[in-house]
Amino acid sequence: MSEVAEKTKAPRESLFSKKNRKLVTDPLTDNNPITIQVLGICSALAITVQVEQAFWMSVSVLFVLVLGNMVISMLRNLIPSRIRIIVQLVVVASLVIIVDLMLAAFVPDVSEKLSVFVGLIITNCIIMGRFEAFAMGNKVGPSLMDGLGNSFGYAWILILVAFVRELFGSGTLWGQPIFGDYIEGNGLYSIGYVNNNMMILPPMALIIVGVIIWVQRSRNKALIEDH
């Protein structure tokens, strides 16, 4: 994270123009990659059982998307359009290998839980989608901002879903007990509170995202689909 922050500091004047700021803020709400563009759901939902996993997943996607966007944007005039998908895949795959090895080295237990889903960042549609839609046609600066905005938009949905699922599913947040100890039965559990085990199961992730979409679209009528 700090690495990215340093990079944004240097060319500050041009990077934080109004247009570039919009590139960051838009994906947070009205153009969110998950709820509006429907990208990146593949690996997003399976790892939202715990906030910690969701956090590390978001950090990984941030790293891959920001760097990948910049690399593709630098290469955009050199890539023949016929083989662009393979070129993009190779760039992403190399970045993902770095992320995978870093996770295994610094947070081994999280890396074990994420298992195949780190590898699946390669085919995460957010990444390919942003490469195709933005980085192939824009300069490095805006591509960087677009990468940041989209990965933050991805991250907050992921962490929100994980927050709900971990809090009500296992009564913890980031592994710390919130409602008291379930096994010893103190705290809230002493007056008969029980964890909702349904929340841990995969289908609930879909339903929570469905509800987030519902809330978002009731607040902004322009997003409502015909059918």
């Binding site: 709820t35 429907v38 990208l39 990146g40 759901i41 593949c42 690996s43 997003a44 939902l45 399976a46 998908i85 393979i86 895949l89 190779v90 992403v92 795959a93 190399s94 993902v96 290998i97 995978d100 090895l101 298992s115 195949v116 590898g119 699946l120 390669i122 085919t123 995460n124 549609c125 390919m128 199961l201 995969p202 289908p203 609930m204 992730a205 879909l206 339903i207 995202v209 469905g210 509800v211 979409i213 519902w214 809330v215 978002q216 679209r217 009731s218 997003l223 409502i224 689909e225 015909d226 059918h227």
Partner: protein, 237 residues
């Protein structure tokens, strides 16, 4: 070890790509508006999974895994850090190859699958199939193929089912903010809950065990029926 048939059935139902792992959700949501296109994409996924997973299995076992290069005289080599890039390269190039072959030799099929084939290179379920194959360490290529075919069929069932539901739901009164994407998510969640009931199927560890169990159960049943006190004859009258 599980039998090949168990792996196959499990991959279709209780470990369904969509409902248990959310793989390939992007195209699942985008291409499920009508049954016709859903069938096309589903068939293409079955086909590509069926081809790529065995190839990746060979690659994993004879090139990438720790000690896999023993046949070439490098027993200590561990190239598994390269597996992501190898797998995705294999998937992308096989998709390209398959596209060209289908176009040349089966133009009718190409017409049907045409636009979906290139999309499949970036479908999470294909790479997911390869990565699950790597993680689960199937013992033979037959098991890996059964797994790939099963997950392809599972994906096909899922996308055709949701497309059929979406065609019908057009005539229902869905709350406006939920229309389209929102209701699709919630329906998929409910379908996932339904599919979880398949977890109740008891997968036997070995085929012979199951036969023995069945035989035992049958003899017990026969004994009960022969008993004059509680037999069938008494109950019948």
């Amino acid at each position: 070890m599980e039998s090949t048939l168990d792996i196959f059935v499990k991959a279709i139902f209780s470990e369904n790509m969509i409902f248990a792992y959310f793989l390939g959700m992007c195209s699942y949501l985008a291409v499920s508006k009508t049954v016709k296109t859903a069938v096309g994409l589903g068939a293409a996924v079955i086909f590509v999974l069926f081809v790529t997973v065995p190839v990746n299995y060979l690659l994993e076992n004879y090139l990438l895994k720790e000690g896999a290069l023993a046949w070439a005289g490098y027993p200590d080599m561990d190239l598994s850090f390269l597996s992501f890039i190898m797998f995705i390269a294999v998937v992308a190039s096989i998709v390209q190859l398959v596209e060209m072959l289908v176009e040349k030799f089966a133009p009718a099929l190409y017409g049907a699958l045409g636009i979906f084939l290139p999309l499949i290179a970036v479908n999470c379920s294909i790479l997911g199939g390869a990565l699950f194959m790597q993680e689960r360490q199937y013992s033979t290529i037959l098991d890996a193929t059964a797994f790939s075919l099963g997950s392809g069929i599972g994906w096909f069932i899922a996308i055709v089912a949701i497309a059929a539901i979406r065609e019908k739901i057009r005539y229902s009164k869905v709350p406006a903010p939920l229309r389209g994407l929102g209701i699709t998510f919630i329906i998929t969640g409910l379908m996932g809950i339904a599919f979880m009931s398949f977890m109740g199927i008891k997968y036997t560890s070995e085929g012979t065990d199951k036969k023995a169990d069945d035989k035992k159960a049958q003899t017990e049943l026969v004994d009960e029926n022969n008993n004059p006190e509680v037999g069938v004859n008494n109950n019948g009258e």
